[in-house]
Symmetry: D2
């Protein structure tokens, strides 16, 4: 049974394992104040061409989102995102538990549209009710999106400009941003993304680290005292060098690139095979996720050999996500492609 369930089912890229072994008996200072973290931060700041940025390593994505949103907003401020956003749908109310209302607008193929942001802000600020509604203060998007789609540079620029004009913090959840860099027709770099937003994170967990997300704070006034916030939220890892190792491993010699690039290439291959069989997609997905709408009999055949983590059935269709990861080999992907061709 070959598993294409998600992109966090395997361990880590080999360079990280090597480093863990190499560093195992060295004595590092605690809570991320060590030299490995320093080096990992330097590598990231170089990659995003932003020497002034503050970089923090956090164990997971939900924890990162919760801290960013609860720290950067006043209690009565809300965060705008699409209805399919991770914070709105898959974080067990972590953001609300942190005290903040999420203001959702309908997604367009997984993406947020600046016009919807402007309309929503207008309704809240100019409405008769003013202080009886929350005050929109942040925009949250994911790159790539929860639907596997990828914002173009133009789309990101438009959102960035809308945020500036409206006085909103622009926050990008980059759980899969390292994959998005290799999506077909990708027209942006990591540094482009960084330059357009106030704060974002580069996901390590899904891109080949054992765990960890690298939070980048670009806006000066948001940097202050952030380690206090991390500690208060249980996010200052005692053996902080562990997270340093993850990002040193990913960014040294751009190690992440070959793994993420391969993963997207393999996903593209699978997409091509599916299309040739007339399988449709829920979205114009371009990262390592494929939101396929199978004829049920196709799905029933495939699930004998492949595990996609369960499908939702509607009418005569089976909706399932196929997910390639940094660890997926050419051979494993080939097996799936062949099975699709033989449907």
């Amino acid at each position: 049974m070959e598993k294409f369930i998600n992109d966090y089912q395997e361990g880590c890229i080999p360079q990280i394992l090597d480093k863990l072994e190499k560093n195992n008996y060295s004595a590092f200072s605690g809570y991320g104040t060590d030299e490995i973290c320093e080096n990992a931060k330097s590598l990231i700041k170089k990659a995003i061409k932003s020497p002034e940025a503050d970089v923090h390593f956090v164990a997971g994505g939900t924890l990162t989102n919760k801290i960013v949103i609860s720290q950067f907003l006043k209690s009565y401020e809300g965060v705008i995102c699409v209805d399919t956003a991770h914070i709105a749908t898959h974080e067990t109310g972590a953001i609300e538990n942190g005290g903040h209302k999420i203001l959702t607008v309908k997604n367009k193929d997984g993406k947020l549209c600046p016009k919807d942001v402007e309309r929503l802000v207008k309704e809240h600020i100019e409405g008769l009710s003013r202080e009886h509604t929350v005050k929109p203060a942040m925009v949250y998007i994911s790159q790539s999106t929860e639907m596997g789609t990828v914002y173009t540079l133009k789309e990101l620029t438009n959102l960035s400009e809308a945020c500036k004009k409206l006085g909103l913090i622009f926050y990008i959840d980059g759980a899969r941003i390292l994959y998005s860099l290799f999506a077909e027709n990708c027209d942006f770099t990591l540094s482009d993304v960084s330059a357009l937003c106030d704060v974002f994170y580069i996901g390590g967990t899904k891109a080949g680290a054992l765990l960890g997300e690298a939070l980048v704070i670009n806006r000066g006034d948001l940097k202050r005292d952030f380690r206090y916030a991390l500690k208060q939220n249980g996010a200052l890892t005692a053996k902080g060098f562990l997270l340093g190792v993850m990002f040193e491993g990913l960014f040294e010699n751009d190690n992440y690139a070959s793994f993420c690039k391969r993963a997207v290439r393999l996903a593209d291959k699978i997409r091509v095979a599916l299309k040739q069989k007339g399988v449709e997609f829920e979205s114009d997905c371009k990262d390592t996720q494929i939101f396929a709408i199978f004829p049920i009999d196709y799905y029933k055949k495939l699930e004998k050999e492949f595990d996609f983590g369960g499908a939702v059935y509607k009418g005569d269709k089976a909706y399932a996500r196929i997910c390639v990861s940094w660890a997926t080999t050419d051979e494993k992907a080939e097996m799936l492609v062949n099975a699709i061709n033989n449907l």
Copy 2:
């Protein structure tokens, strides 16, 4: 420069590294629903002789404390602990940020005394102010304590009985519990501790794991829905098998024992050497921590070769903590003992 700064400065025991390597390309199901976590939980339940317990793995101690306290208490309930408790002094107000008042009483050599618990509860419940004060509902202790002292079985039993009588949840922070098992004259086992409390955690981070604490919930009514609470607090690690590997590594063949035992033995040696030189201690510490009160000139000499993480000076004394870890070798400890002998 030899570092005796803390017990989280090195990586992990070799058995864990081996397992990481061995499992690296297997595909596990996410969020701790995998077979490694299952096995690790079984090993722990066997070790505590409590097949009915619920075990959850959490990335760190502050995160664990915050979730346990915020989930098990109603908003107006408070937690009782000593003034030196970790939650009261070193968690940046995480517990208060989770909504709860900490009710501190003066420690006795780092320990909490049942009489103080009874008095405090009486004052709050029977007082004239009743609902104008918080309602005490939980007792928090650390085993071993933040002062390195170790509760005896009798002391734990007395606290446990006081909690039962007063209707308080008894919670034990076991960040260093695996060390405490090897303290001089230790008269309890892991299963003894487990049987006496409602909920506790076994610290992995300080005992030879890269990260992770194993939370054990004994009381039935506290078990419900706990994974929701974990997720909401950003504590459901995507690659949950990583935490499983940590505790499988520690508890398989009782691997932790040889490392923790050695660490306490080495700390004892250092204590003996210090005593012989007339150095005093802040507490009757018995785990791998030594709270030494050095004559300043002694400290000045030692800090040329050894790093204890900084001292606090009062009068002609230097207060410093020497900390041995699971990774400290006999050779390294011997160097310190020799240096002390040569003072």
Copy 3:
């Protein structure tokens, strides 16, 4: 300029003023432990035919909603309501600030439909994501609704049964419940409503008190320690007898009835007049609120003499709420009816 802006623009019914004067120099015990509060609670328990209920007086509706929801739900539990619900739209994120996600479904003429509740619960509980989404645990409705519509006894019964079946707490916001009792074709009593829900509040503010809502807790396990929750949220009024006076004034001799009955009767008259002129309504409103859709020229004429608190313009229509209150006199309503007739 005659104001029909809302139902909290005037002071209180004369019986309350009399009591304030009469009691002014008596010395009452604090925080609602006085004999006036006791009497007021007895009157309410008699009115709802529920001697076992717990009654608490709270200064305002948002405060009541916030406390009820934050106390009765676990942090990871959510509350279900319609998209137009007061808690979802007009409380500045108070519920989220209290830590809870609001799960909205589309309203049907301001009302919540049991089928939507069932579907939503099913999606959350049976879905693949389980603990990655909040757990629905409460249903919130308003009687009458924010659209001025009134649930029938049958509709309330159906919702009540759905809640029982699904294990949800059923909470009714009765900010305008005293008006709803006099709505055309009303087929329920206060005691009917009380018997169908776990907790509800009877709004005093909008029904002729200076301030105050009477929270009624029917379900036994929800009663415990509630005064602690009130105090912690700043809702235990020092001069608690003030709130007692409000509800003694409203419920003694059913004083509220004549005022609320008149208000609905006058609103009905205005509705009839509007209909005759072809003015349409946004909803089938039956309490003292009228959500009118005026031809703009009609509205322009009326607003010269009457203040409805501002309209929203869409196309050639003006959307405005006309609100009658307990204090509105026949003469004042007649003036508006005449003006409408003369349009």
Copy 4:
């Protein structure tokens, strides 16, 4: 039985009752946007000689404290106060529930000493643990204190300067500030107090209003969006004019002065009588509170005719608080003085 239990046992000064009656059928705009509130705010700004201040009316003291502290501090910031402070002892953990740690220092006759503030800040900011402890960011005092003592102008000035130097917000809880103005040897005015702090509130509840506290925000950067915070915390009263009436009533013609002055004069008389009998005091109380330490037989005699709300017995002493209020008449006080003289 004459009650001297507290200063919130009676209703309100007659001028307020008159205004309630006079305004009862006028239609005011909601949520404190009415002309009575505007006038009341003007009167207060005149009284404190601070035309630039923002004034908000809130229903009660705990609610005010909770909102002020939760809004003006970041989540990881703490508030410094004495161990006897109201927020530390009598608000059911409201501040912690709002997310903030309270950092207490030992009181000196109910008062906070600037040196203790400096020491505590130094320990937190300069300590080895930095971000592992909360960051002190606000000083909270009460004027008069919970022990009935009154800060002198010099003491307030010293605290104010310490706060400025250390970058702390200086917040004064003035629940009884209107009484303190008439304390023996009082050397400050309302405007002096206002000029020395960043934010404070003038208590209405205890000084002759039915309810309400007037929050004054002096520091510009703290003013922004405060009405959002009020609404989110359920503190934007629908009939806001009710709170306006309270403060218009108190401050018009300085109505409060004669009532508060009399109350302090009567408390002084009682203190003199007690002293002559050798009764001691727990503190050098100077407002309308008297913290008496009675020989038990004295107390037993007095409690037959007078209700002080219960005593605490220690050894052969009874500790009880006698509290005079704005409503206490000369005759009632005389009765108590006579009874004391006849002990």
